[in-house]
């Protein structure tokens, strides 16, 4: 298969940035999207040109490092899939693909398709944890957790922090990410003691990081590679109201 790639190239945060066109030739339909980029990069490197920079690591859809806008879709056209788990057979031979980095004020561009998502770390630092020092724990079975709650918590905890929700949202809102962590911890009895503080602090940090407001368009849910539901956002809103009333 052959593809024409329009790729956003930008040397660093201060550079202007522009689209450049590359040809990906003789790509196997069995190759993954990132392997297709490897082939293009390998050719660039052989010519002494700098390869297209993109974040990636595990290449099995769980680390959350990879991610880019592929012709207007976060992580490409396939639902519930990370960029690394996207295969070229999902595209038409001869197709032109536009590759852009996640765009959001809170995700400053680092280079080409690489952005700085450390705002997510700061949000977790604000309260995305349960305060239990090592050694403090009681027996794991001392505190039963209803199975349904454990399952809902796991649904939310599946978030890989890739930032597709922010990238896909017209407002660059991080509510899906924040709500997933708040939900995960609020649904478990272990997380109950810090529920109020956690919710208030995480939302505050989210706002300060420069993410937009949620307008419930649902684009985040549609693009989330782990299918995290926006019902978590409703839960965050409820948790927030509760926290405001209790604090």
């Amino acid at each position: 298969m052959n593809f024409t790639l329009n790729v956003w190239r930008q040397k660093n945060a201060n550079d202007q940035g522009r689209f450049e066109t590359y040809q990906a030739k003789n790509i196997s339909p069995e190759a993954s999207f990132l392997e297709m980029l490897d082939v293009v990069n390998n050719e660039l490197e052989a010519e002494g040109k700098e390869p297209i920079a993109f974040d990636h690591d595990c290449r099995e859809g769980i680390c959350g490092a990879c991610g880019m806008m592929i012709s207007g879709r976060a992580h490409g056209p396939r639902a519930a899939t990370t960029t690394c788990q996207l295969y070229m057979r999902n595209f038409q031979d001869g197709e032109t693909l536009t590759l852009e980095p996640w765009r959001a004020k809170a995700f400053p561009l680092v280079r080409d398709l690489v952005v700085d998502r450390s705002a997510f770390d700061r949000i977790i630092q604000a309260g995305g944890f349960i305060s239990v020092n090592t050694g403090n724990a009681a027996d794991a079975n001392a505190l039963p957790v209803p199975k349904d709650n454990a399952e809902l918590a796991m649904d939310a905890a599946a978030c890989i922090g890739c930032g597709a929700c922010v990238a896909a949202c017209k407002n660059a809102s991080a509510m899906l990410f924040v709500s997933a962590k708040v939900s995960h911890l609020a649904l478990l009895p272990q997380g109950d003691a810090e529920r109020v503080r956690r919710t208030l602090n995480m939302v505050k940090t989210m706002d300060e990081a420069g993410f937009g407001n949620c307008s419930n368009t649902g684009a985040c849910e549609a693009e989330c590679p782990k299918s995290i539901s926006i019902s978590n956002i409703a839960r965050l809103n409820r948790e927030y109201a509760r926290a405001k009333l209790l604090s």
């Binding site: 660093n12 790509i27 190759a31 040109k49 700085d116 770390d121 349960i130 794991a140």
Partner: protein, 637 residues
């Protein structure tokens, strides 16, 4: 060099407890005077950073990813073992200890393994308290499942994402310490050298991968938690960034490298589909519970799988291992698959694959039942290969998955360089020659949460090393060496790309030092690697500069180290004239083709000591004693 394991004596159940009591403690007020450098943020690194922060130490944490949450521990699927005996099925710390020593073919220290088994129960408590959403029963209590190599149900899990959930738990605990001001995270920082000054590890030199800046960090101890070196083989189930650089740098400063030849090859991976392949994907071993493994009886049979009648199929695992059949352990199943493919009976592109067929299970149980058990795996297989595992057999092939070898450490997890501790997969300590399923997560967390806090304190309290800051000459030397090497890589301006060298090295390793090794293949390899290395330094082309984000340069540095490390691995494999676990020497096998250990001559740890650029490394030996688990034979007939 004499390798002192510092293992305590006495009854095995009491050893760790007694040892803990006799260790020196650091006064709480003094802890904040110490700076600890932790490299890597996987299960071992994150749990260590969090716990040391909680204790009051100042922790500097480094990772090459953009966030500590992305370390490759996150990709572990199956679960984590713990001797909780919640199922009342006869489990105990002793049984977990026994299974682990046996599973590792008697090539691990009894004291270490017992401690691991003992601590396993605390790990589950800690993780549950952190909010790790483990699978639960309707009564709200924790669920367990069974896993390979054990007759009890002791594996705790969070769907197919146990590694992710445990890592996020440790990451969150670490982020809490960031807020508390005790941990400082340096992401997108790659450690490029260890600094040893006045006889102890005192810091590291890193490269800021965004700005290209080379920085010095001084501390009172350095913890290397940088994972395994499976990417030596280019294709593995490891993340693309996994590398040997940090432990290789430590090796060059005097830390011994133990048993690098022990490589775990996992039998149920999705086969390679072409030369563009960048990594291999693992599918849970649990598939072998219902799938039957076979190849066509005739070599070169090109018919579609479903057109081959039963009489012309060879269900070779069932034939060779009637008792365990398709459930034969990882190393055995892997070797058997290779044997079939080498004989030309492999299926799929390039003949590198065997069938894993669910036809009979579908007939007996129906698709619905199978979907309940394996829906996600079938979907993943379908997504990657575009083949429907319900309609035609899956194709699988073994792939490099885990490395049992690593830096040699004593009972305190300290390498042969004082003050340089090694945790998790990066060390060699607990799995012997073969690791059992669901034990890697257990070891990483045991090291970070429950062992290092004690042993590090003991080191600091008893160490007489004066404070050293980053202006010390050793830092300058290390920085110069790092800068020099980067400049050198950029200056070659040859014709070949980094990946082409890495792929060639990987293939060499796989062919000569993969699932089966011979004296001949290893001797050849020992000639081919230096030649390839020489070409690398003459004909490599790294575009760009070292003053900004340069992913080609990052890869080049890692491959340069793999090119040296591969040689040591081959050397280790050549010297270990026996077969055990992840190291199969064709010359040393039983009549049935199984591993033939040589306990008289090789019941020891081989720890390689660096002697200089053009010197042969020295093979030091730490003898292993087995008082509790008698040396025996691992049989799965």
């Amino acid at each position: 060099m004499e390798l002192k394991s510092n293992c305590p004596g006495g009854p095995i159940e009491k050893r760790w407890e007694d040892y803990k009591f006799h260790m020196k403690l650091v006064n709480p007020a003094n802890k904040r005077k110490y700076t600890i450098i932790v490299v890597g943020t996987g299960l071992a690194g994150a749990s260590a950073a969090a716990t040391l922060g909680e204790l009051g130490y100042n922790v500097l944490s480094f990772c090459y990813q953009d966030s500590p949450r992305r370390a490759h521990s996150i990709a572990a699927q199956g679960g984590i073992n713990a001797a909780k005996n919640y199922q009342n099925d006869g489990d105990s710390a002793y049984r977990l200890f026994y299974d682990t020593v046996k599973g590792g073919e008697w090539r691990a220290r009894e004291s270490n393994v017992y401690r691991l088994a003992e601590i396993s129960v605390n790990i589950i408590d800690q993780c549950a308290a952190q909010g790790v959403p483990f699978a639960r029963e309707y009564g709200g209590l924790l669920a367990n499942r069974s896993f390979g190599g054990a007759l009890v149900s002791r594996t705790f899990y969070a769907r197919g994402q146990t590694g992710q959930q445990l890592l996020l738990g440790a990451y969150q605990a670490m982020m809490r310490q960031v807020t508390a001001g005790k941990v400082k995270v340096f992401s997108r920082h790659e450690m490029l050298d260890l600094v040893v000054a006045d006889g102890a590890a005192r810091g590291i030199v890193t490269r800021d991968m965004v700005s290209g800046k080379i920085e010095r960090f001084a501390g009172d101890a350095v913890l290397l938690c940088t994972g395994g070196y499976g990417n030596l083989y280019y294709l593995s189930t490891n993340a693309k960034g996994c590398n040997v650089t940090s432990i290789w740098r430590a090796y060059k400063h005097g830390a011994c490298m133990a048993n690098p030849c022990y490589t775990q090859i996992h039998p149920t991976c999705i086969p390679v589909s072409g030369d563009y392949q960048s990594k291999l994907t693992l599918m849970s071993e649990s598939l072998r519970n219902d799938g039957r493994v076979w190849v066509p009886k005739t070599a070169g049979d090109k018919r579609a799988a479903n057109e081959i009648p039963d009489a012309e199929r060879d269900y070779y695992l069932e034939r060779k291992y009637p008792t365990y059949g398709n459930l034969a352990p990882r190393d055995i199943a892997s070797r058997a698959a290779k044997e079939q493919c080498d004989a030309g009976r492999g299926v799929g592109p390039g003949g590198k694959g065997v069938y894993l067929d669910f036809r009979d299970a579908l007939k007996a149980q129906g698709q619905k039942k199978l979907e309940e058990k394996y829906k996600e795996l079938f979907e993943m297989y379908h997504n990657i290969t575009n083949e429907d595992g319900y309609k035609q057999p899956m194709r699988i092939y073994p792939a490099v998955h885990y490395t049992m070898g690593g830096l040699w450490v004593d009972y305190n997890l300290m390498s042969s360089v004082p003050g340089c501790f090694v945790l998790g997969e990066a060390n060699f300590s607990d799995h012997g020659a073969n690791r059992l399923g669901a034990s890697a997560l257990m070891q990483g967390l045991a090291d970070g949460y429950f062992i290092i806090p004690y042993t590090l304190g003991h080191y600091l309290a008893s160490s007489k090393h004066p404070k050293v800051d980053a202006n010390h000459a050793a830092f300058k030397d290390a920085e110069d060496a790092v800068t020099g090497k980067l400049k050198k890589l950029l200056a070659i301006k040859g014709k070949r790309t980094v990946d082409s060298f890495h792929k060639e090295l990987g293939l060499l390793m796989w062919e000569h030092c993969g699932m089966a090794r011979t004296e001949k293949s290893l001797t050849e390899l020992l000639q081919k690697i230096p030649a390839l290395r020489e070409e690398f330094w003459k004909n490599l082309n790294v575009p760009g500069s070292d003053a900004d984000l340069n992913q080609a340069l990052e890869r080049a540095g890692r491959v340069a180290d793999f090119l040296e490390f591969g040689e040591l691995t081959a050397r280790d494999a050549l010297e270990r004239k026996e077969s055990c676990g992840g190291h199969f020497r064709v010359e040393y096998q039983t009549e049935e083709g199984e591993c033939k250990r040589d306990d008289d001559n090789f019941c020891h740890v081989a720890a390689w000591e660096y002697k200089g650029e053009d010197q042969k490394p020295v093979r030091n030996v730490e003898p292993l004693e087995f008082k509790y688990v008698e040396l025996g034979v691992r049989s799965y007939k």
